[in-house]
């Protein structure tokens, strides 16, 4: 086992035990900034662990980050680890991070779908869904990013349990989704949700379940434009941006649509990089470059949230 966050190999992929141990180490290394909370349990009873970055206060405005709702997107969880460490290290050093955390809390769920993640390590590297059993079907799992109560069950999701985009029997049927939704609603002061995926090189915002623009479409579009520009400035990685429906396709029941419809104005979803050769099998040598280029884009969004209270 790693003994310290300083010896943790951020340039390698890790098992869930290694990641959960690392989260505990991060808490130990930054006791006045980072704590760990459990927001629920997965279908197979694994803890849904969330890192809380806070400098104090009571129920401060908050930013929610999650990685790995689709477990096969390994670059995403790996980027999440690097990013969480970066937030902890930069507090007190970087003026933007310090300003954010002096006013707001950050919640970070690094392994949003732990059952699926374990399954990708043990049985099927390319697994996308949860691991819940579907009554009356031999096929296992629900696509947790079609399971949210935002246009649930419409076009862009499947009613077939054997499909990779199966929306599940009802909205929030998956404990991984319900726990997250309950946490955000229960908190009541989450101002931004950033849900991170891979690998289409996109920065997207609501809506996916309808083509109508969100009321602050122009603001979201301009912020996304700045974020992808700053991202590209690091290694030249080109991102597209826009609403989900306009940029990819109609997709119902997604996390960021749900967040937006529940009052979280700054809801974004990233699709991290692939240079076009590896897809979900992106070599570990690309973890740090991917995380490094993503950081300024994330920071742009978080600073914007800080500077535009509502």
């Amino acid at each position: 086992k790693e003994r310290s966050t300083s010896t943790f190999d951020f340039a390698s992929y890790h098992t869930i035990d290694e990641i959960y141990n690392w989260m505990d180490m991060l808490v130990e290394d930054h006791p006045n900034l980072v704590s760990k909370i459990q927001i629920g349990q997965s279908y197979e009873n694994r803890p849904l662990n969330v890192l809380k970055f806070s400098t104090g206060g009571s129920n401060r405005s908050a930013i929610w980050l999650d990685t790995g709702i689709h477990p096969r997107e390994w670059i995403t969880q790996a980027t999440g680890i690097w990013t969480a460490n970066k937030i902890a290290e930069e507090y007190g050093q970087d003026t933007s991070v310090t300003a954010i955390l002096d006013s707001m809390d950050i919640f970070f769920e690094i392994v949003t779908n732990p059952d699926g993640f374990v399954f990708t390590h043990s049985s099927d590297r390319l697994w996308r869904k949860t691991r819940s059993i579907n009554a009356g079907s031999p096929c296992v799992g629900v696509d947790p990013n079609r399971n949210w109560d935002a246009g649930f069950g419409g076009p862009g999701a499947s009613s077939d349990p054997c499909s990779e985009t199966y929306h599940g029997p009802y909205a929030h049927s998956e404990s991984e989704v319900k726990a997250l939704a309950d946490f955000i609603l229960g908190h009541g002061n989450v101002k931004s949700v950033i849900s991170i995926h891979s690998y289409s090189q996109m920065l997207l915002f609501p809506y996916g379940y309808k083509t109508a623009p969100v009321p602050n479409h122009q603001e979201m579009n301009e912020l996304a434009k700045k974020a992808v520009s700053d991202l590209a400035a690091v290694y030249g990685t080109k991102y597209t941006y826009g609403s989900i429906a306009d940029t990819i396709y109609a997709a119902d029941g997604t996390a960021v649509d749900w967040a937006y419809d529940n009052g979280v104005k700054y809801s974004f979803t990233f699709e991290l990089r692939d240079s076009g050769r590896y897809g979900f099998l992106l070599p570990s040598a690309q973890i740090i470059p991917t995380a490094t280029e993503t950081w300024p884009a994330l920071l742009d969004i978080m600073v914007h949230v800080l500077e535009h209270p509502y």
Partner: protein, 93 residues
């Protein structure tokens, strides 16, 4: 453990909306067991499709008969997975 020996990932570029529709129809053919890694969205935008070894002839015939251009993005998925495992083990050591 599920193995992906001989599976390929095809990078497919549809030239118009009709070809995108054809790709979606292809994805719905359960017997082929294809898996879109990146879904077809708009003309000129690449889609990535993992195709099991047993379905490769049928899928490639489908694409060629409909004049849908593609290239092989990953020759053998299992080879890459094995490489990934080796990298992780080496990192642990």
């Amino acid at each position: 453990e599920k193995l992906f020996t001989g599976d390929q990932v095809l990078r497919i570029t549809a030239s118009d909306e009709e070809q995108i529709t054809q790709l979606r129809v292809l994805g719905e053919q359960a017997e082929l067991q294809v898996d879109f890694w990146r879904h077809p969205t708009s003309p000129g935008h690449p889609a990535d499709l993992r195709v099991p070894f047993s379905s490769l002839p049928a899928v490639k015939t489908f694409l060629e008969s409909n004049n849908i251009s593609y290239s092989i993005m990953i020759e053998d998925v299992q080879e890459l997975l094995d490489e990934e495992k080796r990298t992780m083990m080496k990192s642990r050591r």
